[in-house]
Subunit: 332 residues, 3 copies
């Protein structure tokens, strides 16, 4: 466990507080406890900073007065956080074969599988050929893990889960901090992926682990092939998502939704329960009312599209030419 | 082979007919033969129901009069079908290494491959490292199967076929029946994937098996990387599809088509021969005339897009304000 | 090394020049040297043809006068090139285990990996389980190559590179020549993938090798999951691309760009440095000015979209009805 003094040195921070204070892990500002270090990137979170139970927080100068716990003051909070994140990333064993700490007596394990340390697998589960399961993973009963899948460190999978071939569960999230030279610094993702009971995950689908907390796939979810689920996403119970859809970081999808194929869902938004999104739409803002939504450009013969698309990009000029104002359209 | 009596019990159906009648497999209403069970979900198919050669059909009460063969009457036909589908799903052996029933004397098989029972592989075919081939698969001559691919149960592959690394052929289709509690019940997909001669399939592309009949990739087709081909799709001869495109269930694509990258093709539609679809378009209805089609939103500087997109979502109000009716535009 | 006489025979070409001239490889018209064969598909490149240093060039009849070096005259240049490309494709060894010519004494190699001939791997690099590395690949120091990845023949990877599970590096590009019967003939891709230092590549992402020259991922690039990078693409330093984006062949992306998720970038275009493209947009032409760009259809309640989309496809007729001409909008 590093001390705040050691951490301050690593990120070149001014330490306000106890340099011998020990930190055992990282957590977000709302969840952090006494032995945990958190961070706050802007004044928007000053209320949470005032009320945090964290042992210490990384902040910039402007937030000094809002911080009542140990503070690590830096110029670029997110960049400092990216550096520290690697301190707390558990090492993976990269063992050979099936580690002796893992009991597979109730499990059918096919050929060419690699299973790490302290993995738990429930009875009647089938692990197909060429599967790689990393350390600390838990897999429930009656699951089928398809060939050539990768189940990464610390993943938790419930009962009756089917994972199709080539899926990757627990890959690093796409989080990077940019320095003054515009170089990217990777954030080590310390959360896991938690998959509840009765979930199906399609072929070559990828689910990233959370940054500090976990990525959640709730009970009964159906995910088709080639879907991307980013870090910290939640997919609610009994929601089905069709192929080639991508869900960006920290999006929350409600229960019983039906998301079409090739839909894009942007990050940090919420979709309420019982929403249907038609194929190929983009969900570019939160949806708060159940119902069916669409946002696609209709297909046209190419020559027609060429003409329509010119007028389309001139809609602002057309309305100006016609002297139409937005308030003319109210009540229409 | 289960009897109709046993099946009726499993799905809690009223059986009209012979309870000792034996069923050996499932088939769609048009294809079913005497020892097969089929299903009909709505009155739309009452004509086919009247003419079916099926040994028995799952129907709801309203179709009783249109059924002249053994009938299993239930409240939710599709849900009942999802339950029965698992009865007829062949078990996979999940053997180790290369099963002795498979002759690989004419084949180059690299390291760490797993090959199941009763697999046939033609001469001069190369199976690269870490490939998993399940039971009952047939692969022709002069093929190259790339590393880390998964060729699942019962897949049929012609001669001179190239499958790039990470591809998954024969994954389960995305078919689920919803019960009254809005829980999903997976349908076991009993069809296979049939790939004809001279086909190329790209890296990490996924092709799902059919529900009852097969998914077909015809002679000479070129599929790029990261493509999704759903259950029961047909891709016609000499058609080329660029990367990251997704084709939904039961779509039929004609011959000599050129489908651009990241195109979405919705389910249950047809595209005729000699069609070009430009990149990123959605094909949201059948195409019956050869030619080039497009449906994309042009790229704009973000600030311009913000203004244009506001007017775009108000096109209905603008035309109302201007007192334009659809019939004003006829002949224009 | 084949002679021009042998090559002429293979592609049924009229040879103008020295039939005993030996060719050791293929190259594009601008780069080709004395022992190399090139090709020119149209008069557009007649200037380059006049100035080429190539030992020989495949041309059609109309370019005879512009060719001052050995010429192979054919009817369909691209089709002839596709046939010859296979002559120069190196064979892959498809060995078992780890080839003795590869030194892994400084490397951690997990279980079930297959590593080909003449592979170089730097110190402190980790090769996770079930990785396949083909002949002639170079991997730098301190890299992590995730489980179930495929690193294909001749790939070059710098230091401090992280490749996530299931990625495929060096797959064949999607290049095919069409004959008079509209059958596709695969072009063997002879270029490699060159990945510089400090690059991260996401899970199940695919990067194709170049046709004759290489595909380049420059220093500090971040690629998320399920991205497609086609043949001959260049991604500039410190550019980040979010998940499920596809970049078509020969596109050039500048430095420090941020490309959102599910963006489509068409082939043979350039994006300048410091460009931001918002999620789900299509880049359908070159971008020459830094800034933020968007091209998406906003999400609407489905019923509203149905009405808006009808008017949208009639924008040409609406403007005609209103007697608006494009020049009316100038200066607006």
């Amino acid at each position: 466990m590093p001390t705040l003094g050691e951490i301050a040195k690593l990120i070149d921070a001014e330490l306000i507080g106890d340099s011998s204070y020990k930190i055992d892990s990282l957590a977000s500002i709302d969840c952090a406890q006494a032995q945990q270090l958190s961070y706050v990137v802007s004044r928007k979170y000053s209320e949470q900073l005032l009320n945090t139970l964290a042992g210490a927080v990384i902040i910039n100068r402007s937030l000094k007065d809002s911080c009542k716990v140990n503070a690590l003051v830096v110029t670029d909070v997110y960049l400092a956080f990216s550096k520290i994140s690697h301190l707390f990333k558990p090492k993976i064993s990269h063992n050979s074969g099936i580690h002796p700490s893992t009991d597979i007596s109730q499990v059918h394990v096919a050929d060419n599988c690699t299973i790490g340390q302290n993995v738990t697998i429930g009875s009647n589960t089938i692990i197909a050929a060429s599967v790689v399961i990393e350390d600390g993973t838990t897999i429930g009963r009656n699951c089928t893990i398809g060939p050539n899948t990768s189940i990464l460190q610390g993943t938790s999978i419930g009962n009756n889960v089917v994972i199709a071939p080539g899926a990757v569960i627990g890959s690093e999230g796409f989080g990077n901090a940019r320095d003054v030279n515009k170089h990217w610094h990777t954030i080590a993702h310390l959360g896991n992926v938690v998959i509840a009971d009765d979930v199906n995950i399609g072929a070559n689908t990828t689910i990233d682990r959370g940054t500090l907390e976990d990525t959640h796939i709730h009970r009964g979810v159906r995910l088709d092939n080639l879907i991307q689920i980013a870090h910290n996403v939640t997919v609610g119970e009994d929601t089905a998502i069709a192929a080639s859809t991508a869900v960006a970081g920290s999006a929350i999808i409600g229960k019983r939704c039906m998301i079409g194929g090739m839909v894009g869902i942007i990050g940090h938004i919420s979709i309420c329960d019982d929403v249907i999104v038609n194929a190929k739409s983009i969900v570019d803002k939160s949806i708060i009312t159940p119902g069916m939504y669409t946002g696609i450009m209709p297909l046209m013969p190419h020559k027609k599209w060429q003409i329509v698309s010119i007028w389309l990009t001139k809609l602002d000029k057309i309305t100006k030419h016609l002297n139409i104002k937005l308030n003319h359209l109210k009540g229409r």
